[in-house]
Amino acid sequence: MLEVDIALRRDDFRLEARFAADAPIVALFGRSGAGKSTIVEAIAGLVRPQSGRIAVGGRVLFDSARGIDLAPEARRVGCVFQDALLFPHMSVRANLAYGEKLIAPAERFVDRGRVIELLGLGALLERRPATLSGGEKQRVALGRTLLASPRLLLLDEPLAALDAARKAEILGYIELLRDEFRLPTVYVSHAIEEVTRLADHLVLVSDGRTIAEGDVAQLLSRPDLQPPTERFEAGAVIEARVARHDERYGLTTLAFEGGELVVANLDALPGEPVRARIRSRDVALALDRPRAASFQNVLEASVESVGGEFGAIVDVQLRVGATPLVARITRESAERLGLAPGVKVHALVKAIAIDRRSVGYA
């Protein structure tokens, strides 16, 4: 259980953050400069809030009312930053050992050999950080932080400095570590694909305030919260399970409450829970079921609401069974089809519109 309730003022920046989460991975999501990193720094003890309280698993790290403010080294909160911040004068081996040797052997719950194996660090041990690629640096940074046996892991935009291929690679490693070590984690990002793929609990941060929190799928489908996510493309998140694979055409069918979804080949076993994100601009609507169309996914849906009365574009909130979905269409189309709450429609989604990067193991 992570509880944060802090207020902080620095020069002309004000931060008010309040959230509590019991999920394995909590995501802090918002635009750059919204204050996400400051929240993380406060949890780690690198900045001191003017007032408030921070507790991890019932252990109080900061409480202005009771005069508690643990030093960063006493918090047992591990951080991985955007730039890996490896010690340049030490080998990879010495970097990995730095935090590990500061923890009493009885308190270590992360095995060095296992971390080196999982993160593929064996061949890098004698190298210096300056000779490592960006992805390798980030792997070492993850290993170094884990070996300090932290009680909470803070990942502050760990992928932001990497190219797309390295992003996918490190994301895979983070999933691996999550499943292996089950450490409570706070993941900071302004990239919606990363958040939907990894996180269970979402905290939206905007202009120095935490404006909403809750289950990832529910929160990202709420129309009133679209503005802070707008730049990163509004959409809905569907919780599903892998139903079957079609080897011949390389397609995977996902089953969710209310229907099935066909996506391009997904590397997951049947029965595994996954999360798929469907951008609202990739959803088209039709009153009648189209015949002879290329759409793989034709979902029967009912209109919940039609948002935005002005402008050329409207967001139509839909419900497919119990699952929310959003379609972004022109206002002209919405009026031509006579869309209003309660109207039955068919939501059309191309299989390839479901970005493979946005499908992750839940």
Binding site: E73, L102, T145, A148
Partner: protein, 228 residues
């Protein structure tokens, strides 16, 4: 070959400079760290005070030391019962050398600490290291070349120290007569130019050796601090 007397002068100079640097280095590192990393009221004033010996006439510094640390000076009287005496001793020459070399040492070390990414220090603390440990395992090893440069600058400055030394502890053969003072003494007596020249050549050799040694040291950080 240098004569016995010349060798004694060189050894005294080395002793004075080495003690001056060794005694002031820890204070200089602490001062440089405070100037590079801390913000506090009156920092400008503190910074100016540290640099004062660099801009004051050395004779003024020597006179100030005489007033403070002389037999009847407030600090001299305080330290005398503890067996610490500076007046007219080689230790006083070392003190004068340390004070004159201090600003150079602080400047070099401060620049080196400034160049160390402070976020590396924060990362080390989140890994469980105390401020002290972070300083000795991250900040100091990364600032090592600056430390060597600073120590060498101060050492070279100490070998050449003249004004403050002669004002504070006078020119006593075998006790406070370092190389520059010996050269000065020879130039003051007629017909001793050759002696002055011999000592000057020795002085040049000494400086070159110190430069070479520092180049070598700056390239090799101490392995003990690498922390395997």
């Amino acid at each position: 070959m240098p004569t016995r007397e010349e060798l004694d002068v060189v050894l005294l100079s080395l002793k004075v400079a080495a003690w001056g640097v060794a005694a002031s280095l820890p204070i200089a590192v602490a001062t440089a760290f405070v100037l590079a990393r801390k913000r506090f009221p009156g920092k400008m004033l503190f910074d100016a005070a540290v640099h004062l010996p660099l801009v004051l006439p050395p004779v003024v510094v020597g006179f100030a030391l005489l007033v403070l640390f002389g037999r009847h000076g407030p600090l001299g009287r305080l330290l005398a019962p503890l067996g610490i005496v500076f007046a007219f001793r080689w230790t006083g020459a070392a003190l004068a050398a340390a004070v004159m070399g201090f600003p150079l040492m602080v400047r070099a070390i401060r620049l080196a600490i400034d160049a160390v990414d402070a976020r590396l220090e924060l990362a080390a603390r989140t890994l469980g290291a105390s401020r002290m440990r972070v300083f000795f395992t991250v900040t100091l090893p990364l600032a090592w070349p600056g430390l060597v440069t600073g120590a060498l600058l101060a050492f070279a400055r100490s070998l050449g120290e003249f004004g403050a030394t002669i004002t504070f502890v006078s020119n006593i053969p075998g006790e406070t007569r370092t190389l520059p003072l010996a050269i000065y003494t020879f130039t003051q007596s007629p017909g001793e130019d050759a002696q002055a020249l011999r000592l000057s050549i020795l002085s040049v050799c000494l400086s070159l050796a110190a430069l070479a040694a520092s180049e070598w040291l700056a390239r090799r950080p101490p392995t003990a601090r690498r922390d395997a």
